[in-house]
């Protein structure tokens, strides 16, 4: 006999069966978080076996215990290349916490001494200051709590995306149940999404592989969100382009571009379910910038090529307009990368967003401004 170990049929007891239950999806909570990792069902048997009802225990489908793999930075996750660690920095790790602690302690002491001093001078004044400081502390504590919530939510999203990537690559069967449950959880509270989710559940069949299921979800649930995100990107890009074209000096350009970009990233994150606050969106911005920096060479070449060819046309008109259009395209690129980072399900098919159409829209809108304005003044003369 060869060493190929194909398995023979096995009869099982009907009572032992567990069919994936769609209702369960609405009840899935975050506590199940660590369970998903694609794995194969292993079974080592040769002869047909009929099972007895008493010997069979039924386990819920969703719970698949698997070893946790370590989390790799998402922009490195694409390959298995081992990145050598950079040289350990000369300052020890504890220096900055120590500096921070010193400052905080000093501040607290300063405040306490200040309050004690005030109290000795006048009781009412002391109470008033105490109240004021209390309010400030409360505000800070509140902000910090929110900041942590935001960070948690964002990291949940990127965790989900990593999971989705793993599932899609593995192309297994029946492992995506948990993941889909979490995605459904993420969106079911949102108005207008429920019927899309229902459509997805109706279309799913037990013979769909994990990849099929993800494609279905992407097509039925994520697509309108993607369209909306793209719309926002185009809109913000146009705004940026126009503002830069109209702004009188260079410094203002920078400020405007930065402001619109941050706004864009936050909008997209909220759309996909991240809802970041101000501080946590800083982390997001960092990620987007990293993603931009690591963007594939090909993508960059394509973009820049279009920019050079198309841009020279505009540049012939005015360097300032060209600059504006450039900022617009840059904003669009930021938007596209923000979409890739904020989407809880990775872009898997050929529905990857691209900035192809954006540049045309920007030029049209910039042109529109200059086309309209002269005609406004021209009219009274006629």
């Amino acid at each position: 006999m060869s060493n190929k170990n194909w398995k023979a049929p096995v009869f099982l007891d009907l009572a032992s069966l567990e069919e994936p239950n769609h209702d369960e999806w609405s009840q899935i909570t975050k506590t199940h978080h660590e369970v998903i990792q694609p794995r194969k069902t292993v079974a080592d048997f040769k002869q047909p076996v009929v099972l007895e009802a008493s010997s069979v225990t039924v386990e819920p489908v969703a719970v698949v215990v698997a070893p946790q793999t370590e989390v790799v930075d998402e922009f490195l996750a694409a390959d298995d290349v081992v990145v050598p660690e950079s040289k350990p920095s000369l300052t020890p790790d504890w220096v900055w916490p120590a500096v921070g602690a010193t400052i905080v302690v000093a501040m607290c002491l300063e405040i306490v001494f200040f309050l004690v001093g005030i109290f000795t001078e006048h009781f009412v004044l002391g109470v008033a200051y105490l109240g004021l400081f209390g309010a400030i502390f409360a505000a800070i504590a509140y902000a910090v709590r929110h900041y942590y919530d935001d960070i948690r939510r964002l990291s949940d999203i990127s965790e989900l995306r990593a999971k989705g990537e793993g599932l899609f690559q593995a192309n297994d069967f029946g492992q995506s149940h948990q993941y889909m449950g979490e995605l459904i959880n993420l969106y079911q509270a949102r108005p207008g999404m429920v019927h899309r989710l229902e459509k997805f559940v109706a279309k799913r069949s037990d013979s769909h592989s994990d990849r099929d299921t993800m494609l279905l979800f992407s097509e039925n649930v994520m697509k309108p969100l993607d369209a909306k995100a793209y719309e926002i990107t185009v809109k913000r890009s146009k705004e940026t382009a126009l503002m830069v074209v109209l702004s009188p000096f260079a410094f203002l350009d920078v400020i405007l571009t930065l402001w619109r970009n941050i706004r864009l990233i936050r909008d997209i994150a909220s759309l996909y379910g991240g809802r970041p606050g101000f501080l946590s969106s800083m982390g997001l911005i960092k990620k987007v910038l990293q993603s931009l920096a690591y963007a594939e060479v090909g993508e960059l070449l394509a973009d820049s090529a279009a920019e050079t060819v198309g841009g020279s046309l505009v540049a012939a008109l005015s360097t300032h307009i060209a600059h504006g259009v450039g900022s617009g395209v840059m904003t669009a690129r930021v938007g596209v990368h923000a979409m890739k980072i904020c989407r809880p399900m990775p872009f898997v098919q050929n529905d990857q967003p691209s900035i192809k159409g954006v540049r045309k829209a920007i030029i049209t809108s910039v042109k529109g401004v200059f086309d309209k304005e002269p005609s406004k003044y021209a009219e009274p003369q006629v």
């Binding site: 060869s2 398995k7 009907l14 069966l17």
Partner: protein, 454 residues
């Protein structure tokens, strides 16, 4: 204007006998007719994108061909308890009109609804094996069959016929009685090999086991002559050999060629259905036989300009789909095993066809899904299994059906009773009126076959 923009596709559904052509066609029609619901065909683009505007069975263009009885086939599936539709015994044809919102450059502008006409024909799979005969002389055919009959299980099954032929002399004239008897014994031998316990599929000529409207015609009264002497070409005109040869040539020219010229020209899409599980079940002999059949059929379907089929009938097939049917008989996580097994099995033919510029794909599908996927525990391990009612039974069972190999089994692998894929009864569909028949990957098959036309 409206007429010129409409399109038509002729789909050839090919498959050896018992591979599920009739059920496939029935399900295909059913899925398309129920396309408006949109839930069953998520991977068929026009349906998923909401461009589908309805479909209808319309009158076929070839009025002399019997109509494919879709209603009858559906009735079989919808009675309680459901039964599989009868196997095909003759040719039949059906024409569907599919209305959809056009995405073409011009049509899109006018928000036009276009129509795609889809012609499907059903015919006995047995006839397919007549195709390789066209490329052979009678002597070559005899040679091939002699070789085949030296191996089990054919040796023992052909005993009667071989013994009778032993007594005849190919060089001497034979009486009509003798000819008839020889053909009769040969036909019996073919029927014997076709029985489910032997499950052989390389049965030539195809009309012997499935005569259609030719039952009892003298053209079917011939058979190969085993151990043909070398100098047979010089035999007299009245000799057994010459008479047989003449009938063989007549069969080729008037039966086979005519059939394919009439129905198979002007086809532009083809699907080849293969029932791998059945062949695996019966064993090495059946499996190798099926493999040989599929290969030789594909060889005669040579898709380029040089191919025999093309030369004779001027067919321009642009898309070819190989489908492993009855994918619901294995657990869903083994669908891609089934697919890669099929790919291995036909890799050579597939390469040749793809080389000729034909789009080729392989797929595992199930026209009517009889089982449900489930999971259970076996010896402490999670195990995925399927649930359904076995053929000839009334009680539902749950089983892990065994594994589909991903590579072609070697001779050693057949020793044990390794493969035992159980056949299932069709699911209870009597309340299915408002929905399409459950299926596996029919939508992907539709997308591949029709996707570029709509």
């Amino acid at each position: 204007m409206t007429r010129t923009l409409d399109r038509s596709v002729r789909l050839a559904v090919t498959g050896l006998s018992g591979s599920g052509k009739t059920v496939f066609i029935t399900s295909l029609i059913n899925q398309i007719l129920h396309g408006m619901e949109g839930e069953q065909l998520p991977f068929f683009e026009i349906v998923a994108a909401g461009r589908f505007q309805g479909a209808k069975i319309i009158d076929q263009t070839n009025l002399h061909v019997p109509a494919f009885r879709y209603d009858k086939a559906m009735q079989c599936l919808m009675v309680e308890p459901a039964i599989w539709p009868q196997a095909t015994s003759g040719i039949s044809e059906i024409r569907l009109a599919i209305r959809f919102k056009d995405q073409g450059m011009i049509a899109k502008r006018f928000d036009r609804v276009s129509t795609l006409y889809l012609d499907i024909i059903d015919y006995p799979g047995e006839w397919l094996l007549d195709l390789p005969l066209l490329d052979m002389t009678f002597a070559q055919w005899c040679q091939e069959l002699t070789e085949m009959c030296e191996q089990e299980p054919r040796v023992s099954l052909a005993q009667d016929w071989l013994a009778y032929m032993e007594k005849l002399d190919a060089a001497e004239p034979a009486s009509d009685e003798q000819l008839r008897e020889a053909a009769n014994l040969y036909t019996q031998f073919l029927f014997e090999t076709k029985k489910s316990e032997h499950g052989l599929s390389f049965l030539q000529p195809g009309r012997f086991t499935m005569p259609g409207d030719m039952k009892g015609a003298p053209v079917l009264e011939f058979c190969p002559i085993p151990h043909l002497p070398e100098q047979c070409a010089q035999f007299s005109k009245k000799s057994l050999f010459k008479v047989m040869e003449q009938r063989f040539e007549y069969y080729k020219n008037h039966v086979v060629k005519q059939f394919y010229a009439e129905y198979f020209s002007s086809f532009d899409r083809q699907i080849v259905l293969v029932d791998i599980l059945k062949a695996l079940n019966i064993g090495s002999g059946s499996f190798n036989d099926m493999r040989r059949s599929v290969e030789s059929v594909l060889k005669s379907f040579q898709y380029g300009k040089s191919g025999l089929f093309n030369r004779l009938f001027n067919v321009k097939i642009s898309k070819l789909l190989f489908a492993a049917t009855k994918a619901d008989h294995v657990t869903p996580n083994q669908l891609h095993h089934l697919e890669s097994f099929l790919k291995h099995m036909i890799s050579e033919s597939q390469n040749n066809i793809a080389f000729e510029g034909v789009a080729v794909d392989t797929m595992a599908l199930s026209s009517v899904k009889c089982t449900q996927a489930a999971t259970s525990r076996f010896q402490g391990q999670p195990i995925s299994c399927i649930k359904g009612v076995p053929k000839g039974d009334t009680k539902e069972v749950a089983l892990f059906p065994g594994e589909v190999p991903t590579e072609i089994p070697t001779q050693d692998d057949w020793l044990e009773e390794r493969f035992n894929f159980i056949e299932f009864r069709p699911p209870s569909l009597h309340d299915i009126k408002s929905k399409g028949v459950p299926h596996i990957r029919m939508d992907r098959a539709l997308q591949f076959l029709l996707g570029d036309k709509v």
